[in-house]
């Protein structure tokens, strides 16, 4: 990690240019979905929180599992040769499949919204969500990992109309880095809100 906190005294803040960043080694996990990979320049980034959003049965968990496999591609094949940690909140995943847990490069929480929505007290839930974000950031500061979380859509009433919006609220939407939308017809969109997202992949 480049910037450990508290030791900025001798740091040259002008050291890194965008040019330098572009020369760096790729640190992406390939998603296997062509459009998504192209859009993100090779896959989801280490150091980012990527949210997969969509109703159930649209392929979110499938992609999580794919990522878990793809993160292990050996360096000789252009991969990251890392491991994944899969936190399954609905207990439908067999952790024994992931035996070699060292060099973790990817942490998946599937599904984040499910656990949080179990909490009755809304302000407590919000508090927990922010705490979670804080610890995700802290972990990212020490280890370069990619976070992948899944979320679902929910209804919100505004001016007597129902709007379908991502669960977990606006602040959460701001705190994540990327969001990939999953639709029933296997289309994939990229963008923070439904109104602004772009279609990047659709089956032929």
């Amino acid at each position: 990690m480049e910037t450990p906190s508290g030791s900025l005294k001798n740091l040259n803040i002008f050291k890194t240019s965008v040019w330098d960043l572009m020369q760096e080694e790729p640190n992406k996990i390939c998603t296997g979905i062509k459009g998504v990979d192209e859009n993100y320049g090779g896959g989801i980034s280490l150091g980012h929180i990527t949210e997969l959003i969509g109703n159930s049965g649209t392929g979110k968990t499938q992609m999580c599992l794919n990522l878990c496999l793809n993160v292990q591609i050996p360096k000789t094949a252009g991969g990251l040769e890392g491991s994944a940690l899969f936190i399954d909140t609905r207990q439908d995943f067999n952790p024994h499949r992931l035996l070699r847990i060292f060099q973790i490069k990817l942490i998946v929480i599937d599904s984040l919204s499910f656990t949080l929505q179990m909490i009755e007290n809304k302000s407590k839930m919000f508090e927990l969500l922010l705490e979670l974000h804080e610890s995700m950031r802290n972990l990212q500061r020490t280890y370069k990992v990619a976070w992948v979380i899944t979320n679902v859509l929910t209804y919100r009433v505004s001016k007597g109309q129902f709007h379908l919006v991502p669960a977990l609220g606006d602040l959460h939407s701001h705190l994540i880095n990327e969001r990939i939308w999953f639709s029933r017809s296997w289309q994939r969109y990229v963008g923070k809100t439904w109104d602004t997202c772009r279609l990047i992949n659709s089956p032929k």
Partner: protein
């Protein structure tokens, strides 16, 4: 200061002939700000020099002036490079000049970052100066800058120049951010070349480093940190450094969340709720730090039929049009707005 003397003080300027300098005067370009505001192509033709030479000259002129006792440089208008926005800024009497602290706020995903990237690229592109991007979210994407340049079909030389002139620094806490700005100030005092060339600081999503201070107990600490941050920004801005800060805004809590949403602003927005009013975060005090607050919003769409399952929609409706409103302005009137379009090449 006299433009002619100013030009003659630079390395590149010394190579210009008396005739060329007189040509400037003949064409009504007599002051430094005239020189900066004049169309580059026209200047190029007039002086019969290459555009690179012209840019070199401009940047040398910008460096000539000592950043610690500088008045004349504050008159330069950088220009945003966005025609519509520039028009709006003329109307509200606040153009993009050194020392301005701008805030760009808006809801998530509306294109704040894209607008900030565009301003940064345009700035570096046009003025041959450096910009510093402070990344609070580990979110900086060099690919997006690269894509933007690629979409503009620029030659690889100037592309490289732009990429090298944008510096990126990462901060994760408000404390680090403040230290970073202080470090900048010290380097400016120590006549660091990079610090002197850096005339624009872009801070993306400022609320990011404050959201961990929640609740009543932390409110005081948060306030003191914001004040400290404001002081370090002020300190740099009086030396001609321009700031563009990203902030986010929420719709006021007039909406009801149905089953499970339960977000609130963590006690941040204490103002009286106004209907569908977008409110920037970080409170009123912060608002007074900025010389200009721009709010980027989606234009109002009339939902004719609100389908229940919107994910079944096959095409995304977004046409890239955004409304930019002036919500506060210390130099002139408030309330103008303009339309911008988000494209691959940035915002136009």
């Amino acid at each position: 200061m006299d433009l002619k003397n100013e030009i003659l003080q630079t390395e590149t300027g010394k190579q210009l002939s008396e005739y060329q300098l007189n040509l400037l005067k003949k064409n009504g370009i007599e002051t430094i700000s005239d020189f900066y505001e004049e169309d580059e192509d026209k200047l190029k033709e007039l002086l019969a020099i290459r555009i690179e030479t012209l840019r070199e000259l401009k940047s040398e002129m910008a460096l000539l002036t000592n950043p610690f006792n500088e008045e004349s440089i504050l008159d330069i208008n950088y220009g945003t490079g966005l025609e519509e926005l520039d028009k709006l800024l003329v109307n509200v009497e606040q153009q993009f000049k050194p020392g301005r602290v701008w805030e760009i706020c808006g809801p998530t995903g509306v294109g704040k970052t894209q607008l900030m990237y565009t301003l940064m690229v345009n700035f570096v592109w046009k003025h041959n100066l450096q910009a510093l991007f402070i990344d609070l979210k580990r979110d900086f994407s060099s690919k997006r800058i690269g894509d933007m340049l690629a979409a503009r079909e620029t030659d690889s030389g100037s592309c490289e120049r732009v990429l090298k002139a944008i510096r990126v620094a990462e901060a994760t806490t408000s404390r680090e951010l403040i230290e970073m700005l202080q470090n900048f100030y010290q380097q400016l005092a120590a006549s660091n070349k990079d610090a002197q060339r850096t005339k624009l600081v872009v801070i993306d999503s400022l609320p990011e480093c404050f959201y961990s201070f929640r609740g009543k107990k932390m409110a005081m600490l948060r306030k003191s940190l914001i004040t400290e941050l404001a002081c370090s920004i002020r300190k740099l801005s009086v030396h001609g450094i321009a700031f563009v800060v990203g902030n986010m805004s929420f719709f006021q809590k007039e909406e009801e969340t149905v089953n499970d949403d339960g977000e609130d602003d963590g006690g941040r927005n204490e103002e009286v709720p106004v209907k569908r009013q977008l409110d920037p975060m970080l409170g009123d005090h912060w608002g007074s730090v900025c010389t200009l607050r721009l709010s980027v919003e989606m234009p109002i769409v009339w939902y004719d039929e609100q389908g229940a399952d919107r994910t079944s929609r096959t095409t995304s409706k977004d046409n890239g049009i955004r409304l930019v409103n002036v919500i506060s302005n210390t130099y002139g009137p408030v309330g103008g707005s303009c339309r911008l379009r988000i494209t691959e090449a940035g915002v136009v």
